[in-house]
Symmetry: C2
Subunit: 153 residues, 2 copies
DNA sequence: ATATTTTAAGATAAAAGAGTCTCAATAATC
DNA sequence: GATTATTGAGACTCTTTTATCTTAAAATAT
């Protein structure tokens, strides 16, 4: 799989948060319910995003998590790197250590192109952009719920 | 990671075989030594490739495995699909079941493009092509050995 | 102060991936 | 036929990922 399950959950949660009132703390429980992700598992993932400076958290009643920056300033890449690290974009396709222009493997060149395409996708899409698209077209964020069900209740 | 470790080992072994005399059975032990992959583990992986019709095997002395088709007719894709399956090329980036043009997730369109780029890479490169390139430029197939060490002994 | 709501952190469990080991089956050679 | 070289198949272990559970810490409200 391209992205780990944790990463996918992190992305879904980030999209959820990007649609919320700016500055407002959203309880993780609410997100885990809406997104149909295990509460404890999601909590851990969001802790990572908090540690990486993508989210801020606040304890106690009216607490929760929120995006540090505006959703329009957060490319998917930031979330992916925070959770999965950057090896997807640096590692050799044949798993050889130190593969690069100086000591390439046979598929280094082609793979480098593909990697650029992945990087391009993750860098060029911001959370806000995807939320906008998702709302306009009522796209999905869970197996069976569109943006409307998730956000307009 | 894009490809599983099994898949990467499978690819390395397939490249190794593509460089051998056509029709000759190569012992797995020889490959595991040269490629620095655990013998038993490699055996299992090659069993999969045999089951998938990419390799033929022969037991007993002078036995081993060999490619069924010519290396020039085997794109990397065949090996990847045989070991990792095709979910890399079909699955939703957000992990949503049934994501597609009819019921897309917000990043479906962009992800579909990226996926095409991956598919293109895996379909357009054949084993022979990569072996040729690897030999000409003495590229690497293991952490520290180039094609010359592997094949000209 | 106490109770309540929330995140934080750690221990544990379950599942999947990676890797090892043993023994059986097959084929060649002597 | 016995021995040897090889793949095949299954059990087993180790590690990582995924997931759950419990307790602690922080903040609010009463």
């Amino acid at each position: 799989m391209l992205l780990s399950k944790s990463c996918v959950y992190g992305l879904r949660a980030a999209l959820y948060l990007a649609n919320q009132e700016k500055g407002k703390y959203i309880p993780i429980r609410q997100m885990s319910d809406k997104l149909e992700i295990s509460f404890h598992f999601l909590t851990k993932i969001l802790q990572q995003l908090t540690a990486e400076g993508i989210l801020q958290s606040f304890k106690g009643p009216n607490g929760g998590v929120r995006l540090v920056r505006k959703g329009s300033e957060i490319p998917l890449m930031d979330v992916v790197v925070a959770i999965d690290g950057s090896k997807l974009l640096t590692e050799c396709a044949l798993g050889l250590p130190g593969c690069g222009v100086k000591a390439p493997c046979p598929i280094h060149d082609k793979w480098a192109e593909t990697r650029d395409s992945i990087r391009e996708m993750l860098e060029s899409s911001t959370l806000t952009e995807l939320v906008k698209k998702g709302k306009e077209e009522n796209l999905r964020l869970t197996a069976d719920s569109g943006f409307d069900i998730l956000f307009n209740d």
